[in-house]
Amino acid sequence: MALVWIFPYVWMTLTSLKPLPEILHRPTALLPSSPTVAAYREVWGSIDVGRYLVVTLAMALAIAALQIALALPAGYALAKLRFRGRGMALGLVIACLLIPTQMTFVPIFLMFAKLHLVNTFLSLVLPFGASALGTFMIRQALLSVPDEIVEAARLDGASELTIVYRVLAPIVRPTLVALFLVSFVFHYNDYFWPLVMTTDDSVRTLPLGIALLREQGTGVRWHVIMAANVLLSAPVLALFSITQRSLVRGIAGR
């Protein structure tokens, strides 16, 4: 039964190593009879893989970093400070947790069009600057940090920002790592948002570029599409195999 999950990847890789005549005449032969990396060269030749990849990595990194930078102080306020309206603030965060981007993309697109921000790096990053899930995860993690640590830092004369970024951040590091990975992988893979925010090639991302490769009428050139697929998947699969524990932890929300 597990083969149902494993074999498609194998099939993807095997297909990517076949030359065109084999795709045409023996498409379902298991092994390529004369394996070649021609398909990879063709992907490289037809789309600017390097530039797409740079944009994608920069976008995913920027979003993940911004989310952590903003969620730390917000999570701290919600977990460690007592003030009027805290319940309401937490309610707002949870409300955002329930509203996906599929519901906000039309108005945000119109807003960005008005501000001439469509086709810019900012339009890819800004809407994800604050993460409701991240804020919530950090709040939960900080709840289990003893108050004495905060009080001791305060007695030492530390400012609130020092407490947040220098004292507490290292303590909840596993949560931050998990949050970073989940956010990075999600946005690296994302197709929907870059699709609706771009109308030309200026800031297109890799998933978009590869989906376009198929739309350009590659016809039966499946070996090329599969090679592009391998290129797209390899970085996240490598990241996953290195950081499995943290990533699973983050995705399971623990």
Binding site: P73, A74, Q102, M103, M111, I210, I251
Partner: protein, 284 residues
């Protein structure tokens, strides 16, 4: 920072982002849904006509029905296969760890890669599925271009993609069940099936409701797989909710209609999400 303003200053950046990119857009969508606008000429007030025409043309009902069918198939498939695999693979050893990781990796890979991969596997002329079916005498199967089979086929691909997620959640749920309970049942002579029915299933209930609501919401948000594999076709047979919104605004330039669909989507998701939130609280 004074003690009173301090929390709000720390929250300000986050709340500002939420206001700009969540609450304001939802308000704008509601507002736009009362106008007819093609992005070229000025918007025109039409009251609730965007809603009434969505209902009278039957467009809303058919999109909702299709999305619901897709969602139900995805939820049932994901929950069953996720639970099954979790029970099967909840074992020590490197081999099982490798199999678990492989299954989960489908969840980690982009929807784009998964959609393109399955497009190839399901290719009617050269794909693996066509080849396998021809071995048992079934030829000329076009799962993605037959209006009857397209939504179930897409659901199978989606289940393949997110089963790993469900499996991981179920595995975590299984960890919380004390082995002593299962051991005691075994000593009392309970077989595997009755251990499942009387111990595992009841104790996994919060986990199951978490998995079903999460996959339900994921299914309602499906877009990439539709855009890449079918573009809503054939003849709109796979036009699910988010794709319908996308098509209304970006292909048909009907902002009002897209906004009205968004508002309905908001209400549907709100109901589903409240369910999810309850399940989540029960789990935590």
């Amino acid at each position: 920072m004074s003690a009173k303003t301090r929390p709000w200053l720390l929250l300000a950046p986050t709340l500002a982002f939420f206001f700009l990119f969540v609450f304001l857009p939802v308000g704008v969508a509601l507002y736009q849904s009362f106008f007819s606008w093609d992005l070229l000429t000025p918007p025109r007030w039409v009251g609730i006509r965007n809603y009434t025409s969505l209902i009278s043309t039957g467009a809303l009902l058919s999109v909702l029905g299709r999305t619901l069918l897709f969602a139900i198939l995805v939820v049932l498939g994901t929950t069953a296969s996720g639970l099954g695999l979790a029970l099967l693979l909840n074992r020590e050893g490197r081999f099982f760890a490798f199999v678990r990781a492989s299954i989960f990796s489908a969840y980690v890979v982009s929807w784009v890669a998964v959609s393109l991969l399955w497009l190839w596997i399901l290719d009617p002329d050269r794909g693996l599925v066509a080849k396998l079916l021809s071995l048992i005498g079934i030829t000329d199967v076009r799962l993605l271009s037959d209006p009857k089979s397209v939504v179930p086929t897409l659901a199978v691909v989606a289940v393949w993609k997110i089963t790993g997620y469900a499996m991981v959640i179920f595995l975590a749920g299984l960890q919380t069940i004390p082995t002593s309970v299962l051991e005691a049942a075994r000593l009392d002579g309970a077989n595997a099936w009755s251990r499942f029915v009387h111990i595992l299933w009841p104790m996994l209930k919060p986990t199951t409701s978490f998995v079903t609501t999460t996959s339900l919401i994921l299914a309602f948000q499906a877009f990439d797989i539709i855009r890449i594999m079918t573009q809503g076709g054939p003849a709109n047979a796979s036009k699910l909710f988010v794709y319908a919104i996308y098509e209304a605004v970006f292909l048909n330039l009907r902002v009002g209609e897209a906004s009205a669909l968004t508002v309905v989507f908001f209400v549907v998701l709100l109901v589903l999400s409240l369910g999810q939130f309850h399940a989540w609280r029960a789990k935590a």
